[in-house]
Amino acid sequence: MALPVTDQRFSVEVDPSEEVMDIQMGPAHPATHGTIKLNLRLDGEVILACDTEVGYLHRGFEKMIEQGTWTQAIPYTDRLNYVSPIINNVGFILGVERLCGIEVPERCQYIRVIMSEISRICDHLTCLGMGAAEAGAQTVGFLTNESREFLWDIVEAVTGARLTISYTRIGGVTLDLPRDINARVAAAFVNLRGVLSDCDKLLTRNRIFYDRMVGVGAISADDAISFGITGPLLRAAGVPYDVRRAHPYSGYERFDFEVPVGSAGDNYDRFLVRVSEIEQSMRIVEQGLREIPDGPIRLDDPRYVLPEKHKVYNSIEGLMHHFKLIMEGAKVPAGEVYQAVEGGNGEVGFYIISDGSGRPYRCRVRPPCFFAMAALGDMLKGHMVADIITTFGMVNMIGGECDR
């Protein structure tokens, strides 16, 4: 096959005397946790160009959401970032609530924050554990997965499911926190703090890990912003942008936490930022559990919220409201909003348009991974093939979210 001397799209100079090789990596590569195909042009082990192909997990999320009622859209949001589904639930429902012009009770806001932060820890643990395991530190993978299991036990105790939880509803959440939530969280956090300390000892000053992470996959702050990258990747590049700070939602302004930033924007800084964020998330959860007020967990608003069961069985109004909400769906007023929340990988945005008919007219999701994947080729250029694994691990692409 004849190879071009100058690559037009990436303007990589290729020495014609050198052997250049085209290779496909993926879509089912064992060391990339996500279905994605990388079309690589290599000079020996050095990556000259990388064309990233996404879309292997495209399930037509945005099309499907237009088919049902607003409540029926919530399970779809679980399947975006399936490691931290609560954050997606919260993001979608906050947008819908803004359209409805309702504000949920304070206890519900706290529950949403607490559960979001627990999900964020799960997300970061997955990224750290799998990233490290793919780089060869299998032990870390086992440690973080065990720790994540304890957190998923909490999620299960609260919501009734581990991953496909559909926890939020318009005007509230489905279930209240269990009575022993404090003890459960305390126990899980004792384990988590131990695991973090172990991981710190195993990785942070580990010569092999350090050499494979430092300076690899770096992206400058300006490029990261221009690529629309958010979340830990952007903060590792030194930009302290966090949606929870910049555009607080669900009462995040009440919470006391720091936004950790890196400086180099390489894989090592991404690793450190994520570890620090786990610590900050634990702080938020603990503060939330200390300060959470008593009260209802959902609004009493028959336009949007299902009535209590005793009202359904004992009064005609309750029965009517229940019937209308189930059969026709909540009539969300016409309008459009863009609601952003800080997901595990960055800004998850929901651009929701209602025409007042009881069904979403359009729901666009801004997936944070999609933007990071667009920049992956730039991050990898000039690095070695083995660096793909660590970079891809630290970018933490979640297929369900990226491809929708």
Partner: protein, 170 residues
């Protein structure tokens, strides 16, 4: 802190003048409507003027208002990480001439977002360096997020391709 949505709209109208053909304020969010040919210049102004400093294109998508004229709305969500304000920019395009100017020279994120918009809605972006489909495969016929694309439509399986033989575009 950034400008409030009201103040932001005021400032954008003052800076871009007649080119802002409509401005909307709802749910504490500011939105402007631009004519297609004004969009690149006004967006460049929004990015480069220090009082706006919209350094990130947070999102780009389209909405299909099937049955209305013009049919499509291309929606840009701009975000200023410097000031912390957001602006929604809309460009309306018709069904017969479903195209808009590419903004890849302003923001790098526009590259993939415009590819997705073409893939899902069939809106072309003139000046895009790499106008391929992104989520769907090349043999796919139609644009699935259009309102007249049936949700249960099936398309035939495509024969296996040998990408090494065919080559791919870097």
């Amino acid at each position: 802190m950034g400008l409030s949505p009201e103040a932001l709209l005021e400032a954008v109208r003052a800076a871009a003048g007649e080119r802002v053909s409509d401005s909307l304020l709802a749910f504490d969010e500011a939105a402007i409507v631009l004519r297609r040919d004004d969009a690149p210049a006004v967006c460049a102004l929004l990015r480069d003027r220090p009082e706006f400093a919209f350094n990130a294109l947070a999102d780009l998508s389209a909405v299909d208002y099937f049955g209305k004229v013009p049919r499509f709305e291309v929606v840009y969500h701009l975000n200023s990480l410097t000031h912390g304000h957001r602006l929604r920019v809309k460009v309306r395009v018709g069904e017969e001439d479903a195209w808009a100017h590419s903004l890849t020279m302003l923001w790098k994120s526009a590259n993939w977002l415009e590819r997705e918009c073409w893939d899902m809605f069939g809106i072309r972006f003139v000046g895009h360096p790499d106008p391929r489909r992104i989520l769907m495969y090349e043999e796919f016929v139609g644009h699935p997020l259009r309102k007249d694309y049936p949700v249960d439509k099936r398309q035939p399986l495509v024969p296996e391709r040998d990408p090494i033989e065919k080559g791919w575009r870097f």
